[in-house]
C-alpha cells in the first residue's frame, strides 16, 4: 500500500472517498473543493465512450468530458497538477480497460507513477483477466484496487484479493452506479465477511448520496465512496460548481468523520 493510502486509512475515523469524472466541469477547482471540504481519498474518473457499469449521471459526465475533447494526456496532466497542489491526498484513477491498456499496460502504469497516482481501479478487468495491468502497476509502485460485489462468493474472493492493494472497494449493489442503494444490513454483513478475509481497508460505494447513508456505512466500513451525487452537482452548476462541491463534501465528511472511532 502506498504511504498516502496508509495515512488516509490510519485516521481515527472512516475516510470519505470522493469520485468525480476528469474533464467534466472545472476539474482542478472541483478537486481542490473536495480536499478543502474534507475528502480523504480522491477518485478521478477517466472518461470513456462506453461506461458499461455506470448509471445515467456518470455516463453523462463521461460524454460531457469527451465532448470537450478531454484526452488521456489531459487526465494525467490533471492528476500531476493535483499531486503538486496536494502532496498528501491519495489519488486514484478509475475507469475502463480500453483507455487504460490501449498504449500498453506498462505505459499506463509508468504514466500513473509519473503523475503521482496512488491507485487504479479498472472496472472491467476482473482478476481472471489481470495478467498485464495489475503486474505492470505493481512494478510501477501503484496499487491495483479491486472490486468486490454482492455476487462475489467465498470461492472467488481469494482470487479477487490476490494482487489487490490500496483498499478493497465493496460495490454494495449488484447494479450500476448512482441508482439503487443497498440495505444497511446487507452492507454490515458484507463488510464483516470481507474484513475476515483481508487486512485491506474496506470502502463501500454505489448508491450512496446522503450524509445519513454515509454515516451509517462509516460505522462499519473504513471508507465511504460517493460519486454520482457530486456529478449531479457538477452537472447542475457547470464550471461554477466548486463552492457547491465543497459545501456538500463538508456535510458528507462531517457525517462520516463523526460516525465512530475506528481502531487504526
Amino acid at each position: 500500500m502506498t504511504n498516502r493510502f496508509a495515512a488516509a486509512f490510519a485516521k481515527p475515523h472512516a475516510a470519505l472517498v470522493a469520485f468525480i469524472t476528469g474533464g467534466d466541469g472545472d476539474t482542478a477547482a472541483n478537486l481542490d473543493a473536495l480536499v478543502a471540504g474534507g475528502a480523504d481519498v480522491i477518485e478521478l474518473g477517466m472518461p470513456f465512450t462506453d461506461p458499461m457499469a455506470d448509471g445515467p449521471a456518470i455516463q453523462a459526465a463521461n460524454l460531457r468530458s469527451l465532448a470537450k475533447g478531454t484526452t488521456t494526456a489531459d487526465l494525467f496532466a490533471i492528476a500531476a497538477a493535483f499531486r503538486n497542489r496536494h502532496p498528501d491526498t491519495p489519488l486514484v484513477l478509475m475507469g475502463y480497460a480500453n483507455p487504460m491498456t490501449i498504449r500498453g499496460a506498462d505505459w499506463f502504469a509508468a504514466e500513473c507513477a509519473k503523475a503521482g497516482v496512488d491507485g487504479v481501479i479498472c472496472v472491467d478487468i476482473p482478476s481472471e483477466e489481470d495478467g498485464e495491468l495489475g503486474p505492470a502497476l505493481r512494478v510501477a509502485g501503484v496499487d491495483l484496487i479491486r472490486l468486490a460485489t454482492p455476487t462475489t462468493d467465498a470461492a472467488r474472493l481469494p482470487d479477487v484479493l490476490n494482487g489487490a492493494g490500496g483498499f478493497l472497494y465493496y460495490v454494495s449493489v449488484a447494479g450500476i452506479t448512482g441508482l439503487q442503494q443497498a440495505a444497511q444490513t446487507s452492507i454490515d454483513e458484507a463488510v464483516a465477511r470481507l474484513k475476515a478475509a483481508t487486512d485491506l481497508p474496506i470502502a463501500v460505494g454505489f448508491g450512496v448520496r446522503t450524509p445519513e447513508q454515509a454515516a451509517a456505512i462509516a460505522k462499519v466500513a473504513d471508507g465511504v465512496v460517493v460519486g454520482s451525487a457530486f456529478i449531479d452537482i457538477i452537472a447542475q452548476h457547470g464550471d461554477a460548481a466548486a463552492p457547491y462541491v465543497e459545501a456538500f463534501t463538508r456535510t458528507l465528511a462531517d457525517a462520516i468523520h463523526g460516525a465512530k472511532e475506528i481502531a487504526a
Binding site: 480500453n98 490501449i102 472490486l147 447494479g175
Partner: protein, 403 residues
C-alpha cells in the same frame, strides 16, 4: 465432431481466449454470473435432451435445413466459379439470427430464468428474440439505440406485436453499441431472474463460443449439401461479418478443411478512408463489451462510431474468434462498400428473384468480384444470411425513390 490435435476448431481455451482475443472483461458483479452461465452451457452440451429439443425447434419451427441454392443465372452472368447461396433468408423471421435465439432461450429455460433481454441494432436480432420469447411465453425487453428506433420503425412494431417491450436507449451515440451497454447494465441489476440473449459472437466468454455453436448448423448443413450437389467440398466460402455470427456459423465446420478458402466481408461504408464499419481493416485490438478484439477507436482507446448502409453490420467491433482467424491468416477479410452492396442487392434480386438483406448483399458483392477470377470448375458458397424485405425503405432512400 472430431477434434484433431492441430485443429482450428478447439477454441476457445478454458478461459475463453482465442489467441490473445476474447476473454471475460466484465465488471466483478457479472463475473460469477457468466461463470454460472458457462457451467450450465457445459451441462447442456452433453445433454442429449437439450440437443434433441434444439434440433426439433430448428426443423419444425425455424424450417431447417435451409436450402443450398445453385445460383445459376448469377453464375452465368459472372462467368466464373459456380455460386451457391446458403438460404438463411428462408428461415422463420428471415435471417440466421433465430438459430442462436432458439439455442439461448433453451439455455434460459434450463437455468430457470423467467425474463429475457436482448440488444438490437437493425432490429433483426430483436425480432428473433421477441419471437422465441413469445414462443416460450417469457416477457422480453429489447434495448435499441434511439437513433435505430427512429430508422427501423417496421421492426420496432414487429417486436411490439410479438409482445416485447422496446427500450429506446438515449445514452452514448444511441446506436447498437449503446444498446449493448444498456442491456449489460440492465442485466447486472436483474441477473437473478433475467437471461441476456446476445445476438452475435461477441460479449464475454462463453457467449462467442455458444453463439458460434448454435450457428454452426449453417456450415454443417452446407457441408452435407455441397457434398451431395457437387460430390466435393467447396473451394471458397464467403459471408458478411457484423459481429460475425452468420459468418462463423458457416465457416467453423470448414476451418480444418485446408482446401477451402474462407473470406469474411466487412462493411466498408463510404470507403475505408471515410466512415465505415470495418474493424479489422480499420481498427486495432482493444477491449469492449466483455472481450478483447479489433475495434474502431481513436488513439486514446475511445470507441468511434461505425457506419454502414446495412444496420446489421454497423458495429465498431467484431467477434474475437474472427480477430484470431484474421491474425493467423486462416480467414481473409475484405471490405465491401455501401455502393457495392447496393448494386449487388439489386443484381441478385433481378437475376435470381431473391431479395437479399443488405448485410448479405455485401457477401454477394464480394462473390461478384471474386467469381470471375476463378475457373468455372470452382465452387463458392455465399451465405445469404437474411432476406431484404426489411431493407426496402433504406434501399429506396438510397436510390432516391419515394415510397
Amino acid at each position: 465432431m472430431t477434434q484433431l490435435p492441430n485443429s482450428l476448431r478447439t477454441g476457445p481455451d478454458e478461459r475463453g481466449h482465442f489467441g490473445q482475443f476474447g476473454g471475460r472483461y466484465v465488471a466483478e458483479t457479472l463475473m460469477p454470473l457468466i461463470l454460472d452461465l458457462e457451467r450450465h452451457y457445459r451441462a447442456a452440451q452433453t445433454d442429449p435432451a437439450f440437443k434433441a429439443e434444439f434440433d426439433y425447434l430448428l426443423k419444425h419451427y425455424v424450417g431447417r435445413p435451409s436450402p443450398l441454392w445453385f445460383a445459376e443465372r448469377l453464375t452465368e452472368h459472372l462467368g466464373g466459379a459456380k455460386i451457391y447461396l446458403k438460404r438463411e433468408d428462408l428461415n422463420h423471421t428471415g435471417a440466421h439470427k433465430i438459430n442462436n435465439c432458439i439455442g439461448q432461450i433453451l439455455l434460459a429455460k434450463r437455468m430457470g430464468k423467467t425474463k429475457i433481454i436482448a440488444e438490437t441494432g437493425a432490429g433483426q436480432h430483436g425480432v428473433a428474440t421477441a419471437t422465441v420469447a413469445a414462443l416460450f411465453g417469457l416477457p422480453c425487453t429489447i434495448f435499441m439505440g434511439a437513433v435505430d428506433v427512429a430508422r427501423q420503425q417496421p421492426n420496432v412494431f414487429r417486436m411490439k406485436l410479438l409482445g416485447a417491450e422496446v427500450v429506446a436507449v438515449e445514452s452514448g451515440a444511441k446506436t447498437l453499441k449503446d444498446a449493448m451497454n444498456e442491456a449489460l447494465r440492465h442485466w447486472v441489476a436483474n441477473v437473478h431472474d433475467t437471461f441476456y440473449i446476445i445476438g452475435t459472437v461477441a460479449g464475454p466468454h462463453p457467449y462467442p463460443e455458444l453463439v458460434r455453436d448454435f450457428q454452426s448448423v449453417i456450415g454443417e448443413e452446407a457441408k452435407a449439401q455441397i457434398l451431395e450437389a457437387e460430390g466435393r467440398l467447396p473451394d471458397m466460402l464467403i459471408a458478411p461479418v457484423g459481429g460475425g455470427s452468420n459468418a462463423i456459423g458457416l465457416f467453423h465446420p470448414f476451418l480444418d478443411d485446408e482446401g477451402v478458402k474462407i473470406v469474411g466481408i466487412e462493411a466498408a461504408g463510404e470507403g475505408l478512408d471515410g466512415k465505415h464499419a470495418a474493424s479489422l481493416a480499420g481498427g486495432r485490438p482493444g477491449i469492449l463489451h466483455g472481450n478483447k478484439t479489433y475495434l474502431l477507436q481513436d488513439e486514446d482507446g475511445q470507441i468511434t462510431e461505425a457506419h454502414s448502409i446495412s444496420a446489421g453490420l454497423d458495429y465498431p467491433g467484431i467477434g474475437p474468434e474472427h480477430s484470431w482467424l484474421h491474425e493467423i491468416g486462416r480467414v481473409r477479410y475484405e471490405p465491401v462498400t455501401d455502393a457495392e452492396a447496393l448494386a449487388s442487392f439489386q443484381k441478385l434480386t433481378k437475376l435470381e428473384g431473391i431479395i437479399p438483406a443488405l448485410e448479405s448483399a455485401h457477401a454477394i458483392a464480394a462473390a461478384e468480384r471474386i467469381a470471375p477470377t476463378l475457373g468455372n470448375d470452382k465452387v463458392i458458397i455465399v451465405n445469404c444470411s437474411g432476406r431484404g424485405d426489411k431493407d426496402i425503405f433504406t434501399v429506396a432512400d438510397a436510390l432516391g425513390v419515394a415510397l
